[in-house]
């Protein structure tokens, strides 16, 4: 057979799902992550008043998923036909399932936003007070459901691309877990920035301490998952071994080592752990490391998508 019975030409060239999808994956992750963190923290404290963190979480949760949808729909070749998904559901398709989840999640985040900013909203739109009255008793239930949907949103973005058998880097069960964890990490950073910058949260408040505390276990989980992903490729079949080259290639090495490892792991480690004594009181350093983490999580999505689609079978 001479190994000639194979074809190497394809009809669609290069990276088919590009940066808008990566941006969507990032925004969905931030939204879910921020939502999870604010709901859990609020519950844990038995919070009565809306804390800056609650406000930040629901603001981020709502705005980022809405923006994410803009990227997702905008990237379609026929965006005006988006409604076809809504009438022709295919329950075998992760995308259809995701769209169902999003259509529940977005209204939920909108309600969560309403709860968090009830006072502010009623100040200007007093006529909405009857809505507030209706919604108020439901708050614990809405929070509970939103928490679950936030987890689903993070995880589904992983499932969305992990079903693609052509790409070993994507086609792994670790991906949904990695996306939940990295979503938490980006959501954590975004919540901290927004809470302190716009809602006057004190840098050393209880909530900020919580954010700092959970940062580390999240990062350790993220490092472990990335490591396991790489190892699973190295010890895998021919295709998987080939896909491992993504980590060492010139093309994507920088994105991975500089972006993922450098921005999301090394910078926070250096500034918070090693130099913590000198820098932990500085706002500038906090914003810098938090932004670096978010950029790193974006690099992770970019790396997975671009390198994944480049090293196909």
């Amino acid at each position: 057979m001479d190994g000639a019975m194979n074809f190497t030409i394809g009809f669609s060239e290069g990276v088919v799902w590009g940066w808008p999808i990566a941006a969507y994956l990032l925004l969905a992750g931030i939204s879910g992550g921020a939502m999870i963190i604010s709901i859990v923290t609020r519950h844990f404290k038995e919070e009565v008043e809306n804390s800056p963190l609650t406000k930040a979480g629901s603001l981020i949760g709502f705005v980022t998923i809405a923006f994410g949808m803009v990227f997702l729909v905008g990237d379609l070749h026929k965006p005006l036909y988006f409604w076809k998904i809504l009438i022709n559901y295919n329950f075998h398709s992760v995308m259809s399932i995701g769209v169902i989840a999003i259509s529940v999640y977005i209204p939920l985040t909108a309600v969560m936003f309403f709860y968090a900013f009830e006072k502010e909203i009623l100040k200007y739109f007093g006529f909405l007070s009857f809505v507030a009255k209706l919604l108020r008793p439901l708050r614990p239930y809405v929070e509970f459901i939103t928490l679950w949907f936030a987890i689903i949103i993070c995880a589904y973005t992983g499932f969305l691309i992990s079903v693609l058998v052509r790409f070993p880097l994507l086609n792994t069960a670790l991906l949904p877990a990695l996306f939940v964890v990295s979503g938490l990490s980006a959501g954590n950073a975004a919540s901290g920035i927004i809470a302190t910058k716009f809602f006057k949260e004190d840098m050393h408040s209880f909530d900020m301490k919580v954010l700092h505390r959970i940062e580390w276990p999240i990062m350790i989980a993220e490092i472990l998952l990335v490591f396991m992903l790489a190892v699973s490729l190295v010890v895998g079949n021919e295709y998987q071994k080939h896909a491992f080259l993504a980590f060492t290639s010139n093309e994507f090495g920088l994105l991975f080592w500089g972006g993922v490892v450098g921005l999301s792991f090394l910078i926070p480690i250096i500034f918070n752990l090693l130099l913590g004594k000198f820098t932990s009181h500085s706002r500038a350093v906090y914003y810098f490391t938090a932004l670096s983490v978010i950029a790193g999580v974006f690099c992770l999505r970019m790396f997975i998508l671009y390198a994944g689609q480049t090293f196909g079978i």
């Binding site: 000639a4 009809f11 022709n88 559901y89």
Partner: protein, 223 residues
Amino acid sequence: MSNDGRRKFLKGIGLGSLVMSVGSYGVVANKPTTDKKSKHYAMIFDQNKCVGCTDCEIACAKVNKVPKGQFRMIIEDKTDPKKPRERRMVRVSCQQCVEAPCVQVCPSKACHRDNLTNIVTMNADDCIGCLYCIVACPYNVRFVNEETHAAENCNFCENTNLKEGKDPACIEACKYEAIVFGDLNDEKSKINRILKIKDSLRMKPELGTKPSLRYIPAVRLGV
């Protein structure tokens, strides 16, 4: 045929047909009908016979109105440069998977399995251009048609020649009988007779997609 199954069901003849019609319409929408009389169209590409004239490519593009510069099928020259006299051609086109990832992922059911023929085909109007099917296809043989802006694949001319009762365009065009088309569920079909006597391969069978395209590899003469 699947339509018969539905009719029988409506007449309430038996539980068997109930199971059958549920099987083919609902739960396992991606699987072809298992009804005995249903079709399983397949194609053989014989590397011994193909000379690489590309008549099939031209005929395909014409019949299926594929925009210039795009293809539903092409013939790739995989001749080993060290052995230029042993010509090796390979057909590149949709493998008509029985377990088709493209059908499974399409959120709008634009990429679907035709009810009558069981062929993986397109409904261009329902396509939203999300490209999910394109990244899901392990053979990279789908593309977005520049004119319809919908994804498409070789569908054995399901909505063109086949509908008119003709063979697919590539089959009609090939002067060397290098491609054979037929129904695997028909015991007496030519394609089954050939498959019985010749060894054939499927592309990347390890992926579990169960492709319907068979390739007969070139035999080396005079080794």
